[in-house]
């Protein structure tokens, strides 16, 4: 969910107007790829309908990601487009805040409560498993910590936040980010297939994607690939997971400081606030406004569509920022640890979700 190491230009010492102008080409590229994905979906469906053909419905989400992948892995992203492409994270968060309009507070509390219980279990499983695997494969302890945080909480941003807090090497965080991004890309294509194979309900599948797919953008995309309703639930479950980031990073920071290998944290409450993903508060605020009928039904429909447009740009960005050559260059061992751990986490969380679906009638 946070800025990856792959497309991250820094814009400095420029006037605000110049900064904004710099973003235009990349944002237009995101919009063009996203819109093209939507256009292809509609065209294929219209063609199939006109010719009475039965073709599987490939969602715009998949088209946008595939087009982005094809672009970044063939042409590459020219420097002119990079600042704008990096804004996909902004569109992701804007989309999540607007998505609050589609959740009544009661739904948030019910699904969020179930998610929170499952997230706590998922964190325990992920930390134990990754720590064990890291030791078994002989990875450096801090790299193991980064992989554990990345797979347990929220992918890239958790790794970046933890890196600073435990004084990890740049090289370790690049390895961990590459492993998490590569595994996220694989999850995008495998999760919907498994979900359909198991005939999971939208809610159960959405919960699973939100719990097991690491990066928020990928988790949202994996949910939306299944169905619109599943995408909504996946975002809520993933957002609940994101909200835990401060506690997890603080826990590891205290551990590494006790080993004399990281700075002590002064002011733990302000540390927690600093790491807390603020867009979660925006999401809750919009959900409260929708729950007290601040918006009419038609206005909620409009907000939902604005959220879909924001996600469309995000999904294009997911494809564009994934460069297989760069991921491959990061080495096999962290990827192997990540892959084994992720498969195990996906299986365990699937079991948890199936039980929760039965108990809470999801």
């Amino acid at each position: 969910m946070a800025q990856g190491s792959l497309v991250l230009p820094r814009i400095q010492t420029l006037r605000p107007a110049s900064k904004l102008l710099q973003l235009v080409p990349g944002v237009l590229l995101l919009a063009a790829i996203g819109w093209l994905g939507k256009f292809i979906e509609q065209s294929v469906n219209a063609y199939a309908k006109a010719h009475h053909l039965h073709v599987p419905n490939i969602e715009y989400v998949l088209w946008a990601i595939l087009l982005g992948l094809a672009f970044s892995n063939t042409v590459g992203i020219p420097a002119l487009f990079q600042p704008g492409v990096a804004t996909y994270e902004f569109f992701l968060k804007t989309g999540i805040v607007l998505l609050g309009a589609r959740f009544l507070l009661g739904d948030v509390l019910k699904l969020g409560g179930v998610s929170l219980g499952l997230v706590v279990l998922e964190l325990a499983v992920a930390f134990t498993l990754m720590t064990f695997l890291g030791k078994w494969f002989g990875l450096k302890p801090k790299l193991t910590t980064l992989l554990a945080v990345g797979s347990a909480v929220c992918g890239v941003s958790a790794i970046i936040a933890t890196k600073g807090a435990i004084d990890a090497d740049d090289e370790d965080s690049s390895y961990a980010i590459a492993a998490i991004l590569a595994l996220g890309a694989i999850a995008l294509f495998t999760f919907p297939l498994i979900g359909h194979w198991l005939h999971l309900s939208d809610r159960a599948y959405g919960l699973w994607a939100g719990l097991a797919v690491d990066n928020t953008a990928e988790a949202s995309a994996a949910g939306a690939l299944y169905s619109d309703a599943a995408g909504k639930v996946a975002v809520l479950a993933k957002t609940t997971r994101n909200a835990m980031i401060g506690f997890v990073v603080l826990g590891y920071a205290i551990y590494w400081a006790s080993q004399g290998q990281a700075k002590r944290i002064e002011g733990k409450l302000s540390f927690l606030w600093q790491k807390f993903p603020k867009f979660v508060l925006g999401f809750l605020l919009v959900s409260v406004l929708a729950s007290v009928s601040f918006f009419s039904k038609e206005q909620i429909g409009n907000l939902a569509n604005l959220s879909r447009w924001a996600f469309l740009l995000t999904f294009a960005g997911v494809g564009l920022r994934t460069n297989f050559k760069e991921l491959k260059a990061q080495g096999l061992r962290p990827f192997a640890v990540g892959a084994i751990g992720e498969i195990a986490i996906a299986v365990v969380t699937l079991g948890m979700v199936l039980v929760a679906a039965k108990v809470f009638l999801l």
Binding site: L92, K278, F279, F295, L303, R308
Partner: protein
């Protein structure tokens, strides 16, 4: 999450992070929808 802090040590000007911008823009859009300036968003 977003780490858009200013690199300059001497710069004390308040800067919004990506989270902050996302919340502000989303709330501004919600307000525009609420007061009817944005009245139809196609999908």
């Amino acid at each position: 999450m977003s780490q858009e802090v200013n690199n300059s040590e001497h710069e004390t000007r308040f800067k919004l992070t990506t989270d902050g911008w996302a919340v502000l823009v989303a709330l501004a859009l919600a307000l525009l929808v609420r007061i009817g300036i944005i009245h139809r968003v196609p999908w």
